[in-house]
């Protein structure tokens, strides 16, 4: 059922104390700069042990303080009740689940898988190719722990190869080429299969939510094209070795793979409007959530940060209806948004002002705490 409560301690601008979240839908409503996204972010941190907003953990600590902490209680179908504690002390991060320290964040992912919808998601559509790779890596990592291992392994081999390339160390590159080809092919095959299935979900959702008839598809364009064996990849790496020496890096492999959004065989994002790009980024996340549910048979926690603001009422309704079944969903809204029609039977509404969250009653569909 997701989180039943979270305790806050010196976390961003959020007032210290405990907030109850024992509802399927949580609405945070408030003006900009009051702390809605900070509250939504706390769910993400307890799910993954990191934030989606910054690479600097120190920004999570309230200004002028030296440490911060979050403690969440959650109930899952698989693991029962979980007490997750996140702390930043003396620049050191620690995460504990039911009192045991978590050494590898990978171990957290399968406790409470969550999917966040935020403004920066537009980068997956209009940003650099590595952001698209990041999105699809995350999509695969959500349900396949082995993919994370293969990806980490590939990254480590790649780093070693890049050093060997800079040193022009042929013997070492021969060895690393075999490892890179073997691990890289594993990544490539997994991406191929995943994108094929993901694209079918995405295409259907795009048609349903946007209302456009022209199909939009996701296409995978691997860097090692038409190479379907480890041997052929090793040969390709050998052929490109002089180019690699000139560039001082490995110029081919899954770290250079591309993902395209194609309409009539052409990259759509080059001609799409900002509104269309935003819509595609939203649909990508819905497809990710559906893909995760379909593959794992589990319900995710969904975090939606101000993302429906730019949708017209019809598309907003379609978007909302297209969300997969979830354990818990957290939404942020501005006070003048029409959010009450989205509330279900089990919705908890908090008004957020200057870091304080006030439970609101008065509406049939909301409960106070």
């Amino acid at each position: 059922m997701g989180f039943s409560q979270i305790r806050y301690y010196q976390f961003r601008n959020i007032a210290d104390g405990v907030l109850a979240f024992d509802a399927k839908q949580i609405f945070f409503v408030g003006d900009n700069g009051q702390g809605k996204t900070n509250l939504l972010e706390s769910f993400y941190i307890l799910c993954y042990g990191s934030t989606f907003r910054t690479n600097r953990d120190s920004l999570l600590i309230r200004s002028g303080m030296s440490d911060c902490g979050l403690t969440g209680t959650a109930v899952t179908d698989d693991s029962g009740e979980l007490a997750i504690r996140f702390a930043l002390q003396n620049s050191l991060k620690s995460i504990h689940v039911n009192g045991s320290p978590v050494q590898d964040r990978k171990d957290l992912i399968h406790n409470l898988p969550c999917i966040v919808f935020c403004h920066d998601d537009i980068d997956f559509v209009s940003g650099p190719p590595e952001r698209r790779r990041w999105f699809f890596n995350q999509t695969l990592s959500l349900y396949d722990e082995l993919f994370i291992d293969v990806l980490r392994r590939y990254t480590r081999i790649l780093k070693n190869r890049n050093v060997a390339v800079r040193e022009e160390n042929g013997d070492m590159i021969d060895v690393l080429d075999e490892q890179l080809a073997h691990t890289g092919r594993e990544l490539q095959v997994q991406r191929e299969h995943a994108v094929e299935r993901f694209s079918a979900t995405f295409e259907q959702l795009y048609h349903h939510i946007s209302g456009f008839d022209e199909p939009l598809r996701v296409r995978y364009r691997p860097s090692w094209r038409n190479l379907d064996s480890v041997e052929s990849v090793v040969k390709e790496l050998r052929t490109r070795r002089s180019t690699d020496f000139t560039m001082g890096t490995t110029t081919s492999g899954p770290h250079r793979d591309r993902f395209r959004f194609e309409m009539n065989g052409k990259e759509f994002t080059e001609t799409a409007s900002t509104g269309q790009l935003r819509l595609i980024s939203l649909i990508l996340r819905v497809a990710q959530a559906r893909f995760f549910s379909g593959r794992s048979g589990r319900k995710p926690v969904l975090l939606l940060d101000d993302v429906m603001l730019e949708l017209d009422p019809t598309r907003r309704k379609r978007f909302f209806d297209a969300l997969p079944d979830y354990d818990q969903a957290v939404f942020t809204f501005l006070p003048d948004e029409q959010f009450s029609s989205l509330a279900g039977d089990d919705t908890l509404l908090y008004r957020v002002k200057a870091g304080h969250a006030y439970g609101e009653s008065g509406s049939a569909s909301t409960r106070s705490v």
């Binding site: 780093k159 070693n160 013997d171 070492m172 060895v175 690393l176 490892q179």
Partner: protein, 197 residues
């Protein structure tokens, strides 16, 4: 810094020990008979004089060559290559291997600046040549760098006409399948063995 703080800091620098354990050990030594600390101190003071790497295989030994290298009953046509001296003890305890050992002293890792020249690779080639080794068992750890090292040695040794093998990867003996991590299960499936018909 007091003498006790100093002792705790030195103990805490040892691998696998945190500050709490270091405090506990320091207090144990203080509470124990003087001779406990005295004996330990004497052992530590003469450690490097008495124990040193075997000039042949590289494992730690008091006698040179070590007991394995000087044992004429061992199979001197097979050599097992390991990363660290302590790996030899683990393999010896299995009682399954009766050949010789060779300690590399680490693994190849270009990002850490460790190439073949930093490891005991040349000494391995020399021993293979001198002893007429038939088979090399590569027992480096199943990490990226451990695999890189094994693959590098395979490439080099195959040109010298030596058979190479790698330790199998998979489920621990006596362990339950339900407690194995997914990566181990996946590797076990890939490395499954067939029954002879």
């Amino acid at each position: 810094m007091s003498a006790l703080d100093d002792l705790v800091s030195q103990i805490a620098r040892l691998p696998g020990l945190g500050r709490k354990s270091a405090v506990r050990i320091a207090h144990y030594l203080l509470k124990s008979d003087r001779r406990v600390a005295g004996n330990l101190s004497e052992l530590l003071a003469t450690l490097h004089d008495r124990i040193h790497p075997c000039s042949e295989c590289g494992r730690y030994t008091e006698a040179d060559p070590c007991a394995v290298c000087s044992d004429s009953a061992r199979d001197r046509t097979v050599i097992c290559v390991v990363e660290q001296p302590q790996d030899v003890e683990v393999l010896e305890q299995s009682g399954e291997f009766h050949g010789l050992y060779h300690v590399l002293g680490g693994v190849l890792s270009p990002i850490d600046g460790i190439g073949p020249g930093e490891l005991r690779v040349a000494a391995l080639y020399r021993r293979i040549e001198q002893l007429g080794i038939r088979e090399v068992i590569l027992a480096t750890n199943p990490t990226v760098e451990g695999d890189t090292t094994a693959l590098y040695l395979v490439k080099q040794l195959q040109t010298r006409g030596v058979d190479c093998s790698r330790l199998a990867l998979g489920l621990p003996v006596g362990g339950d399948l339900e407690y194995a991590d997914r990566l181990t299960v996946a590797r076990s499936l890939r490395g499954r063995t067939h029954y002879d018909s």
